[in-house]
Structure formats: structure tokens, C-alpha cells
């Protein structure tokens, strides 16, 4: 599913007042400015998002008159960050440690799944038979409820981080495959013709023309996949027995919710922050790659 719609920031038909940019001399300067702007925007959105949620939260609390046990105040949740966890470290440090562990699982899965997706996407786009055979199967694979086969996975891969990374990879794989296949298929036929007239081989056409042309599309897929990788890594920690990671943090704080409700909210917020971080990182990487930023070829 190239639902990959995370590219909402750039509507395909150039939104309002799409006027050609005037020639700028310092390409490097404008790029660094663009990157700073992108991160600034991301942070702003994150901040706004958190503030909006907090405001809604407090509003809901007042409206429904829910007690502090069920719905602690947002500032109490924030305050918990400074409270000591079990080994003397603060909750912030404790969360940060687990955040990094889940990040690692997600990234390993993301890397493996993306690479696999990229290769399969290329195969599908370049060979009609392979495409016809594998695209329906990858689609079918995507409908498998991964939590359901989770227990079976544990049997083969153990309860360690490999299972988590595998699940992350499994979820990453599909959007990248579809995006790559579509991106390559959408390379303008003039461009492919151009390479042919230059007597370029299939590999040269792929590497020099089709893949770079597909990059904007691939990055749309990668963004979706990044979100999925984080979901995969966390969900994999929930039921499969693990000591570390945000999933384990969610489980333990969930278990003790009636005694101490704030950690569960912290764990949920940390998970969301992780998702946002990974997705925005992918976006940041995109801004560093010229071919990924430019849509299609020139008119």
C-alpha cells in the first residue's frame, strides 16, 4: 500500500500559487536553510501537537470530571519524568534508555526491510512475470496480522531482539516494495528512451535514471515504512517477553496502572515521540538527497 501518504507536506500538484523558483546562486546555502527550516517545522509541529493534546486532555478531564487516578493532570505526567525509577535513575533516563533500545530494533528492521523492499521492488518493476507473480503475494502478506503469527515467530527467532527487528522488517518491507516498483514504473518514458539512445545497458538505465527518478516515490514509501517499523518494534515487545524497550515499559506500567497511572502515559508519549523521530529523520535524509527532493524530471 503506497498509502505512503506521509508526503502530505508536498501536495502533488503544487498547492497554492506554484510559481517557479527564481534562480538562486548559492545552492548550498539554500539547502542548509531548507534543512534547518524542515527541522524547525518538524519541531514546531511536534510542540504544537503535544500542546494541543495536553489542552484537549485537560479539557476532556474537566468536561467528563474524571478523577486523577484515571486521568492524571498533564503536568503530573511531565513531573513523573523527574521522579526516580527503580534503579535510582530518573524516569526520564529510564525511558531514554529503553527508547534507544527500541529505536535500535526499529532501525535494524527498517534497514533490512527497506533493502529487501528495494530489491524486490526493482525486480517487480523490471520483470513483468516476477511482478505479476510477486505483487499479489506481497499484498497478501501485508494482510497477515503479524501479532497473530508472533508466537510462531518466537519459536524460530527466539524472544530476543531479532524477533522484534524481524517484525519491524516485515512491516517495512511492503510499502518500500510497492513504492519502488511504482517509482520505477513511473520514470518518464522519454528518460528511458534517452538512455536507450545513449546505448546504455539495463543496469546503467536502472542506476543512473530509474532509481534516482523513483527516489521521491521511494522516500514516500520509506516514510510510511519508518512509521511501520516503529509500530512493529513496539508491538513486538508487547506480547513476546522482553525486559527492555518501550514495549516492555508499556507492559509494566500498564500492569501497575491502578497504583501509579503516570508511567503508562509517559511510555505512550515516548513511543509516539519515537515514531515521529524516525519518520522525521527519514524526511531529513530526503532533504539531503537532491534526487529525492525533486519530483520527476523537468518539463
Amino acid at each position: 500500500m503506497a498509502d505512503a501518504g506521509a508526503a502530505l507536506a508536498a501536495p502533488p500538484h503544487g498547492g497554492v500559487g506554484s510559481v517557479a523558483k527564481p534562480a538562486t546562486s548559492g545552492a548550498a546555502a539554500s539547502r542548509s536553510r531548507r534543512i534547518t527550516a524542515a527541522w524547525g517545522r518538524a519541531l514546531l509541529y511536534a510542540l504544537l501537537f503535544v500542546l494541543a493534546i495536553c489542552a484537549l486532555w485537560e479539557l476532556a478531564k474537566v468536561v467528563t470530571q474524571t478523577n486523577d487516578q484515571l486521568m492524571p493532570h498533564s503536568w503530573d505526567i511531565v513531573k513523573q519524568l523527574g521522579e526516580p525509577a527503580t534503579r535510582g535513575e530518573t524516569w526520564f533516563q529510564y525511558l531514554a534508555g529503553n527508547w534507544v533500545i527500541t529505536l535500535r530494533n526499529a532501525l535494524v528492521g527498517f534497514a533490512v526491510g527497506s533493502l529487501g523492499g528495494l530489491l524486490l521492488g526493482i525486480a517487480i518493476a523490471r520483470n513483468r512475470l516476477v511482478g505479476a507473480a510477486l505483487l499479489p503475494i506481497t499484498t497478501l502478506m501485508q494482510t497477515i496480522p503479524i501479532v497473530a503469527i508472533g508466537p510462531a515467530l518466537v519459536l524460530f527467532l527466539g524472544t530476543g531482539w531479532v524477533t522484534k527487528a524481524f517484525i519491524a522488517a516485515f512491516l517495512t518491507f511492503f510499502p518500500v516494495t510497492v513504492a519502488t516498483a511504482k517509482g520505477i514504473a513511473q520514470t518518464s518514458s522519454d528518460s528511458v528512451d534517452l538512455m536507450r539512445v545513449c546505448a546504455a545497458g539495463p543496469l546503467q538505465t536502472l542506476v543512473k535514471m530509474q532509481l534516482p527518478s523513483a527516489l521521491p516515490m521511494i522516500f514516500v514509501g520509506l516514510e510510511t515504512a519508518a512509521g511501520m517499523a516503529v509500530i512493529g518494534a513496539i508491538v513486538a515487545e508487547l506480547p513476546f517477553g522482553t525486559k527492555d524497550g518501550l514495549g516492555a515499559t508499556i507492559l509494566t506500567s500498564w500492569q501497575f496502572y491502578t497504583i501509579e497511572p503516570t508511567p503508562l502515559y509517559l511510555a505512550a508519549v515516548a513511543s509516539c515521540a519515537l515514531g515521529a523521530f524516525v519518520v522525521f529523520s527519514v524526511r531529513a535524509v530526503r532533504t539531503l538527497i537532491p534526487a529525492a527532493e525533486t519530483q520527476g524530471s523537468t518539463r
Binding site: 494482510t143 496480522p145 514516500v220 503508562l264
Partner: protein, 259 residues
């Protein structure tokens, strides 16, 4: 044979061949390595069991499917309402688009414990989780569609159209491909979200809960039979979405929006 007919044949035969090969390999590994049913059953046994228990499983499929549909409809309503509210304002729209993008990055399933705190492990909780997952996605699509500008807007302006006429005669039809593509994307996601949420709690007359129950009881055959039906439901959602998109777009000769 004409090239078109050959294409169609390839499109049908090759995935079937690939699937058969995949299951054959699985069956072979089970038989050769003598893997116990407790660990991983053979596909043939799974299919037989799936057929045998199809009655109960279909009941669960219906229930899960209903949850997914209700969640989807709720998400569509919320998204449409929000997007309609803000699409006229450029600042709000770009802010909304940004938030929708951020929202899609969130692993909403981790909110499940939080949601159950309020709603209990009920069907409602599952529906709410589905809706929370789908809203950023659908909202993004609807908003993008509604904020699309074209010469048609100018045309309507010159023709002296009022706000409602511009909205109903141009904006909504222009947004339609986006809305439909959003729906197509959201459909399978709704099913997956439903099963995952059910798995972690909720009524037991659902696919997710049944799968968990069978896993707990070591009934691996029933577990996999349920997975087969879960996949069927997913495929159904996928196909329905695809048909919906095709039907909606064929009417106007558009190609799907790739987002």
C-alpha cells in the same frame, strides 16, 4: 494468442503458481524436518481445519469486519468534518497537513492501554483505536483533496458562484479521487488495526481474541485456521478498496492518486 490475452493469463497464472510453490515449500519443510504441529502446522492441515471450522470463524470475521467498518466510518466522518472546517484557511490547512503527517508517524496501537483505561476492553475501545489510527491518514487525504486549486476555481469565481457552490460543485468532486484513495488505503489498515486491538483485549467473539485464545491453549491448528480467515478478511478489504477506487475513478477517467 493476442498479447492482451497473454497478459491477462500471466496476471492470473503467475501469482497462483507462486502461491502454490510457497505452500508446497512450507509443506515440504514440515514433512522433511518433521516439525511438530505444536510448533508450526502444515498448510494442508491448516486449510482442512479452516474449512472445518469455517462456521465459527465466519462469525468472528463478521464481527471483526463490523468493528473495522464502524471504525472506518467514524474516522471518515471525523476527517471530513475537520477538513471541511479548516480547508478554507491557508494557515490552518498547512498546519493541519503538518499535524496529519505527524499523526501518521505515531504508533497509535500503543495508545491501546490508555484507551482501555477509559472504555474498558470493549468493542468500543477497538473501534476507537481503529479510528485514531485512521484519522490522520484520511484527514490528510481529504484535506489535500479539498485544498487542491485549479483554474476551475477561477472559473467558478468569474461565474459568480457563492461559497457553497464552489465547495459542492468543484471542491468536493476535485477532492473525490483523494478521498477514494484515502479510503482504499484505510480499508486494509482498518482490518489489521482491528485484529491487533482485539488481540490485546476486547470481546472474545472476534478474530483477534480467538487467535490469542487458541495460542494460549496451544491449539495451533485453530490458531492458523483463524489466521487464514484474518488474511481473507484483509484481502477482502484490499479488493473492496481497489474496486471502489477503480469504480470511482473510471467514472471520470482519472488515475489513482499516489500518496
Amino acid at each position: 494468442m493476442s498479447p492482451a490475452a497473454k497478459d491477462r493469463l500471466i496476471a492470473v497464472v503467475s501469482p497462483v503458481v507462486a502461491l502454490v510453490m510457497l505452500f508446497g515449500l512450507w509443506e515440504l519443510v514440515i514433512k522433511v524436518r518433521n516439525i511438530k504441529e505444536l510448533i508450526l502446522p502444515a498448510p494442508s492441515d491448516i486449510l482442512i481445519q479452516a474449512w472445518r471450522t469455517r462456521g465459527t470463524l465466519m462469525e468472528y470475521v463478521m464481527f471483526t469486519g463490523k468493528e473495522a467498518m464502524v471504525g472506518l466510518v467514524a474516522a471518515v466522518c471525523v476527517s471530513l468534518f475537520l477538513a471541511m472546517l479548516i480547508h478554507g484557511n491557508e494557515t490552518l490547512s498547512s498546519l493541519g497537513a503538518g499535524l496529519a503527517g505527524a499523526g501518521r508517524a505515531l504508533p497509535t496501537i500503543v495508545l491501546y492501554p490508555v484507551v482501555t483505561v477509559f472504555l474498558g476492553t470493549t468493542s468500543t475501545a477497538v473501534i476507537v483505536i481503529i479510528a485514531i489510527t485512521l484519522v490522520p491518514l484520511l484527514f490528510g487525504y481529504v484535506l489535500t483533496g479539498l485544498t487542491m486549486r485549479s483554474d476551475l476555481d477561477d472559473l467558478m469565481h468569474v461565474a459568480g458562484a457563492d461559497g457553497w457552490q464552489k465547495f459542492s460543485l468543484v471542491r468536493v468532486p476535485m477532492a473525490l479521487p483523494y478521498i477514494v484513495t484515502g479510503l482504499r488505503t484505510a480499508l486494509p489498515l482498518a482490518v489489521i488495526s482491528a485484529i491487533v486491538a482485539e488481540y490485546f483485549g476486547g470481546s472474545t467473539h472476534t478474530l483477534g481474541a480467538f487467535i490469542r485464545l487458541q495460542a494460549g491453549q496451544l491449539h495451533t491448528l485453530d490458531l492458523w485456521a483463524a489466521i487464514v480467515f484474518a488474511c481473507l478478511l484483509g484481502v477482502l478489504a484490499f479488493v473492496v478498496g481497489d474496486l471502489l477506487e477503480r469504480a470511482a475513478l473510471r467514472r471520470r477517467g482519472d488515475s489513482p492518486v499516489l500518496l
